[in-house]
């Protein structure tokens, strides 16, 4: 996200687009909210929007969204993950390289995971991680141009829920599905929990790990999660009501 000061003169524009409307790449964005934000003289421009010269231009095809009248972004379907600091992701270990493990997190680059980034790990007591294992961890990104790093401990050195995930099944979903089901008011996960016994780790990178006692319910849970992608909110609530 880039903070920027916008120029109040720019607002005499031909095209007007409202929040909630579809914008196309190259379209100049000057929604009502942007104007209002201009008075406060500060807007935060999120993913899919870009400042070119004095103007804010859409760089993605999607729906213009807004939060608190301050933050603007374009909501688009996406599969490619862009690492962001502090996000929980599920990755697959692809390589051991000395002190590091290389973890595939569906981003442009593989993430690095240091062997000391596990709870209780010391030089003598190495954690047992093998190629092909699934890991849940947090992203540490210094710069978008650098290789991202993954850690499986929090600031206090505790693992909380992070670490190697054993068993279960991993599948890939789109990024917006993940954001959708992780929303606080999304009824899907709570109602799934009341219908099935399962564990899951949902990575912001669109990789979802599910584990339950037998394959059938694992497939059922994964299924329910995947089918939530195309559901309208009402369908989702009925769907969840049916699960209970």
């Amino acid at each position: 996200m880039t903070k920027q000061k916008s120029n109040p003169k720019e607002v005499e524009e031909i095209t007007t687009c409202k929040v909630g409307e579809i914008v196309l790449p190259g379209q100049i964005v000057d929604a009502v909210g942007v104007k209002e934000a201009n008075k406060k003289n500060q807007v935060i421009v999120g993913p899919g929007l870009r400042k070119i010269g004095d103007r804010i231009v859409a760089s993605k095809c999607g729906v213009l969204r807004e939060m608190n009248g301050k933050i603007f972004w374009v909501d688009a379907l996406g599969k490619r993950y862009l690492p962001a600091r502090g996000e929980g992701v599920v990755g697959i270990v692809t390589k051991k390289m000395g002190d590091y493990f290389k973890v595939d997190v569906r981003a442009a680059d593989a993430a690095l995971l240091h062997f000391l980034a596990f709870e209780g790990a010391t030089k003598k007591n190495r954690p047992e991680v093998n190629v092909g294992d699934v890991v849940y961890g947090k992203m540490v990104v210094e710069s978008t141009d650098m290789e991202p790093e993954l850690v499986c401990i929090n600031d206090e050195g505790r693992k909380t829920n992070m670490g190697v995930l054993s068993g279960g099944f991993v599948f890939r979903a789109s990024l917006h599905l993940v954001r959708k089901i992780l929303q606080r008011d999304c009824p899907l996960l709570p109602s799934l929990g009341s219908a099935f016994n399962y564990e899951s780790a949902i990575g912001m990178n669109g990789v979802i790990w599910v584990k339950s006692q037998d394959p059938v319910s694992t497939i059922a849970v994964s299924n329910a999660i995947l089918s939530a992608e195309t559901m309208t909110p009402e369908e989702l609530t009925t769907f969840c009501a049916n699960l209970r």
């Binding site: 595939d104 099944f169 991993v170 394959p215 195309t230």
Partner: protein, 455 residues
């Protein structure tokens, strides 16, 4: 010695690199697939002997065919040029097959040289089409020892999700069947190629229609999965690819992996392959006829690949974004249709399930759109109008079926090709039953699992 060692090192490095690139799948995934198959379940809810949704479209030019098999997408284009026939066969034309896998298709493939999979597919298709002599090469000859048509089939893979073989071979065959060579006149031993506009071009003569059918084998030869997906292909014990034409003649076979082959396995797979090939050829012929009719009506013009676009889906070219499908209804239905000729399933089902049996058997022959819709009906979901959006206003749904269209609209779409494929299973199993291969347990198993889930 030193040279050998360095060569070995290069080789190992390359091997390691290919290995690295391919191991994007987690260990737990492969374990899970194997465990699920032990329980007679496939991740996408298909039966073991079920094909994915298949589509075939012809382009507006002659010799262009687009085939999608699930998410595997392939485009084939046939072209021809005049050349001198080979010395060994002076009165025959020639045919070339070339399979192209771009690295854009899937991260696994490398740029530059042809990948292992590409070569493998290429060779198998060559075996299937060229070596089975399905194209009449002598008819391609114009003047013996001097001029003959050289036919080239270019198959480009657009998306990869397992089973390139069936997809590519169907595309190549369809393109060949659709292709027409321009008319040629000979005056005083001078060859003149007429323009397509002036003179009606001539179709190739095909003796038979061979198609590759791929199987993945699990459980030491016990479980034979038709049309494996990418994950299944990666995990399977061995792969069995059978080339078969509609007359049930074998046109090539490939068996690799670590299962000890036994006769029963091969025979069972071959039986299935024959049925699948028969159905695919039927599809090919019907599509070809449709295309011909359309061209006749519109003076040789068609809409071409525009027909491949689905307006009822948000992602118009995608068939089904959910790699894992709701298994309950679909398996139940197809399992029921299998039991139509048999006794009713013996599991702990209540009586009205059995009464539904006949009617549902018919229903299962419908297109997938309808199944998807009836699924919604079962859950009692009302399709809401577009404006009403309370929670999650911030999200646009995406993916497979557009849930906003009216139910009627979806139903009217249910017309063509897929119909055959659901039928396939029924026919197949009847025939397999005749040969007394005890496979009925599979379906009973699936039904049982259904009953648990339906709660």
């Amino acid at each position: 010695m030193v040279e050998d060692a360095s060569l070995l090192a290069i080789f190992l490095k390359r091997l390691l690199r290919t290995f690295m690139r391919e191991s994007v799948f987690a260990n737990c995934e492969s374990d899970f697939v194997v465990a699920a198959i032990k329980k007679k379940k496939r991740l996408d809810g298909r039966l073991f002997e079920e094909l994915r949704n298949i589509e075939l479209h012809f382009g507006s030019d002659y010799g262009c065919a687009y085939v999608t098999l699930g998410e595997t997408k392939v485009l084939a284009q046939v072209s021809c040029e005049l050349s001198e026939p080979r010395n060994a066969r002076k009165n025959e034309g020639n045919i070339f097959v070339n399979v192209e896998i771009n690295d854009m298709v899937c991260g696994v493939f490398e740029t530059g040289h042809q990948s292992h999979l590409g070569i493998h597919t290429n060779r198998l298709i060559e075996k299937c089409i060229k070596d089975s002599r399905c194209v009449d090469l002598e008819a391609l000859c114009i003047i013996s020892e001097e001029q003959a048509w050289e036919i080239r089939v270019d198959v480009s893979v657009l998306n990869y999700d397992g089973n390139l073989f069936t997809c590519c071979s169907l595309a190549a065959l369809a393109a060949l069947a659709h292709f027409r060579t321009p008319h040629v006149t000979i005056e005083n031993s001078e060859i003149r190629v007429e323009s397509i506009k002036e003179h009606e071009p001539e179709p190739l003569s095909l003796h038979h229609y061979p198609i590759l059918v791929a199987f993945a084998i699990f459980g030491e030869g016990h479980d034979i999965l038709l049309d494996p997906t990418e994950l299944e292909e990666k995990v399977c014990e061995s792969e069995l690819i059978i080339g078969m034409n509609s007359f049930r003649e074998l046109c090539g076979m490939h068996f690799s992996g670590r299962t000890t082959g036994n006769r029963l396995l091969i025979v069972k797979a071959a039986q299935q392959a024959a049925l699948v090939a028969g159905d695919l050829v039927k599809l090919l012929k019907s599509k070809l006829e449709k295309d011909n009719e359309e061209r006749k009506k519109n003076r040789g013009k068609t809409d071409g690949l525009v027909t491949a676009i689905h307006l009822d889906r948000i992602l118009s070219a995608s068939q089904d974004r959910n790699s894992l499908r709701v298994t309950m209804r679909e398996i139940e239905e197809s399992a029921r249709s299998l039991f139509v000729g048999h006794s009713a399933p013996v599991t702990g089902k209540d009586s009205d399930d059995d009464q539904d049996l006949e009617s549902d058997g018919k229903e299962s022959e419908n297109d997938e759109t309808e199944v998807a819709y009836s699924k919604d009906k079962r859950l009692g979901i009302q399709l809401p109008p577009m404006e009403k959006m309370a929670f999650g206003e911030k999200w646009i749904p995406s993916g497979n079926k557009n849930a906003w269209t009216l139910p009627n609209a979806t139903l009217s779409d249910a017309s063509d090709d897929e119909v055959d494929y659901v039928k396939t299973i029924t026919d197949e199993d009847r025939i397999i039953d005749k040969i007394d291969l005890n496979d009925s347990e599979e379906e009973q198993d699936t039904v049982m699992l259904e009953a648990q889930e339906l709660k």
